[in-house]
């Protein structure tokens, strides 16, 4: 127990880099860390604000009582999907394993402390979703005192299951790559299959039950008053949530637990998930070193024979280096390939569904909109969810001295990083465009937008990603996860990519005659910003 407490303290000591921020002496470094913490806080506040407004929207439309169950589900899905990406690096990381295994420590406290660390991280991330939305419910639906107790309980109970599943997922990856030569590729494909399945499964369930379908509310009707539109929207929203509950009966049960209508169910869930968590900790603890050994096996020695060598240009050498770095890391690949894969999946889906059906069903966008006009932007956005460029500088880590001491201009380094990100997206982009060429029935302007808008979005996202990383580089890290997934640069770049959706929303909601003008202006503006960001990157001092 003492070992477990000591190791848990150690694990939690530098949660979100707080210990470094506390003890760093160099004022410049301290300033940088503080700015990063402030940026992170702003991102959290924006997310919290967005969630508050969306929950308030639900209450406004008369489905306030569904807030706790819907946002609980959202929190669990979010934690689960993010957990899948970090299972290996967070729970089974090998960085300090050599040190720990040389100490008189049993494997159970190591595994349990790491599980607790993952749980606390999930607890804090989950709180960003749970706290504001549950409070909106409490205020709008005038919840009684027992609800606040349920809120606290839900806050602590909800992250248990995603954390436990994340641990099991790590074991599954270990089993899968144990006897496999192409470990990174296998791991990436496996993670993607699970993530895509996790996202598609709710849609499949939903369509089995008839789907939610688009609402028949016309925003631009001259005859309807705002009150009538609100009433119609409210009615349609209630119907939608009823269908969601039919698709997921457990959701309704969970909702009743939270609202204090099913206390035995609540206690059963709490006890069950806690028992599963402890059992998982015991099982992993017993086999911790065996699992880690399978995930991080020693390299094999191959007798090398010198062969004739070839020289490359500087840019080729740098891009090749970027590619090798990228494909050597499962975390890096799985976290950044999601966008292009989703974009490709979306174009394939467009072969079977028209944009309106796809956006209203798959995107759960329950209003009647001009989906064709928004499609190029949404496709562009999908490509760019997270680009390799956003962490390409920080990922250099302790190797940064190499590029610093070599006769390579900063401009060449940055151009190589941008070029690699573009080359990485190119196959997905070209395949998507070819599919769209044959499947989407649209006029010349729409076809042109489908070609140009995603290109513009990709150029912007890659440049903005690297710009964020240049502004917030982090070379001191223990796990790649710290820069690929949790870095200020990646967080900021993900947030910035949302600007691509602004013209999408405008194009969707405004009359069709404005679409071409909006699209053209958006392209011009995004390209101009991209140009400025590019110039800033090349002039940056590192």
């Amino acid at each position: 127990m003492k070992q477990f407490i000591t190791l848990t303290k150690l694990e939690l000591l530098n949660l979100f880099d707080l210990n470094v921020l506390r003890h760093v002496k160099d004022p410049a470094e301290k300033k940088k860390k503080t700015i990063m913490a402030v940026v992170l806080l702003i991102v959290v506040l924006i997310l919290g604000g967005y969630l508050t407004f969306s929950a308030y929207g639900m209450a406004f439309l008369g489905v306030g009582d569904k807030i706790p169950e819907i946002y609980s589900l959202l929190s669990c899905i979010f934690l689960l999907i993010f957990g899948l990406f970090k299972a290996k690096s967070s729970l089974y990381r090998d960085k300090d394993l050599t040190l720990l295994s040389s100490l008189p420590i049993k494997s159970f406290p190591i595994a349990a402390a790491r599980l607790v660390h993952a749980y606390v991280e999930n607890l804090l991330i989950g709180a960003i979703i749970i706290l504001p939305t549950f409070l909106v419910y409490a205020f709008t639906c005038k919840a009684g005192a027992p609800f606040y107790l349920n809120l606290v309980l839900a806050l602590f109970l909800l992250p248990i299951l995603p954390t436990t599943l994340m641990a099991w997922f790590g074991i599954a990856v270990a089993a899968l790559v144990a006897r496999n030569r192409h470990k990174v590729l296998t791991e990436t494909i496996f993670v993607l299959i699970i993530v895509v399945a996790s996202l598609l499964l709710p849609m499949v369930f939903s369509s089995i039950n008839g789907g939610t379908g688009p609402m028949k509310v016309d925003f631009f009707s001259q005859d309807a008053s705002s009150e009538e539109i609100t009433k119609a929207l409210s009615l349609e929203t209630q119907k939608t949530f009823e269908k969601v509950e039919t698709s997921f009966p457990l959701l309704k049960t969970w909702g009743s637990c939270l609202l204090g209508e099913n206390i035995p169910g609540f206690l059963l869930y709490g006890a069950g998930s806690a028992a599963l968590f402890v059992l998982t900790a015991l099982l992993i603890g017993k086999n911790f070193f065996a699992i880690s050994a399978k995930l991080f096996p020693p390299s094999m020695h191959h007798e090398f024979q010198m062969k004739a060598m070839r020289s490359e240009t500087l840019l080729t050498a740098l891009v090749r280096k970027e590619a090798k770095r990228y494909f050597s890391s499962g975390i890096y690949v799985t976290n950044t390939i999601v966008g292009p894969v989703f974009a490709l999946a979306m174009t394939i889906a467009l072969a079977f569904f028209d944009p309106k059906t796809l956006l209203t069903n798959a995107g759960n966008l329950p209003i009647d909109v001009n989906a064709n006009a928004a499609l190029p932007f949404i496709l562009g956005f999908m490509f760019c969810i997270m680009t390799p460029a956003a962490s390409s500088l920080s990922i250099e880590g302790k190797n940064w001295w190499i590029l610093q001491t070599l006769p390579v201009a900063k401009k060449d380094i940055m151009q190589a990083k941008l070029l690699f990100s573009l080359l990485f997206m190119a196959p997905f982009y070209f395949v998507s465009e070819v599919i769209l060429l044959f499947t989407v029935s649209a006029g010349l302007p729409e076809r042109l937008w489908l070609l140009i808008v995603p290109t513009t979005a990709i150029l912007f996202a890659v440049t903005f990603g690297l710009f964020c990383n240049v502004k917030f580089p982090k070379f001191q890290w223990e796990s790649e996860m710290e820069v690929v997934k949790q870095g200020a640069a990646t967080g900021l770049s993900m947030l910035g990519i949302f600007v691509i959706l602004i013209p999408a929303i405008l194009a969707m909601l405004l009359p069709t005659s404005y679409v071409n003008v909006i699209t053209l202006c958006a392209i011009a503006l995004i390209l101009a910003i991209t140009g400025l960001l590019y110039r800033s990157i090349l002039r940056a001092k590192l």
Partner: protein, 237 residues
Amino acid sequence: MLVIQHLEKHYQGTTKGITDISLHIEKGDIYAFIGHNGAGKTTLLKAITGIHSFDKGEVLIDGLDIQKNPLEVKKRIAYVPDNPDVYEFMTGIQYLNFIADVFMISAADREQRIKDYADRFEITSSLGDLISSYSHGMKQKLVLISALLHDPKLLIMDEPFVGLDPKATFLLKEIMAELTKRGGAIFFSTHVLDVAEKLCNKVAIIKEGHLITSGLMSEVIKDQSSLETLFMETVNE
């Protein structure tokens, strides 16, 4: 070859750094740079290689200012850090090829040099393995080979003997002597005072960021029995 004039570098908010350091390193010199932990050795080495900027002073390498012509200077020098943190995702040969591409070394030349140095350091058979599988010593050998590939005029090393086996240590000393015979110069930090005394013609001692003494080894040691005695006396003052 290397002229350091009144160099100052301070880390804000701390007392760490270097103050008013001036050194002259000529062609053919093997210059040892010694000092206790935290004295400022690595700070100076990183400032003259362009890794760190500095507050005051001037660093000229082969007549070129490191701050004004960083790329031209970096073409003439090579740096071996105290920790061989190299691209672990590459194999040894891929890393050497990458360095050769950056220095635009022809295919024939790189092949001959890599073969020569890798054979001498006895790591040829491991060049096809991922660097992540290398021991500390093997990584150190790889960094040394990569530093020698473009035949630098000035080799700057931070504790290069750490992690090397006796044979590799002997070989490195041999290679250092060869480089200086070709007109190159070497400036390196070390804690191995015996090696410094036997190998180097010049020495500089740094204490708490200040240069205590520098010059020809024989002149610096003067009446003292050894470099070690002098160093102990200097740091205890």
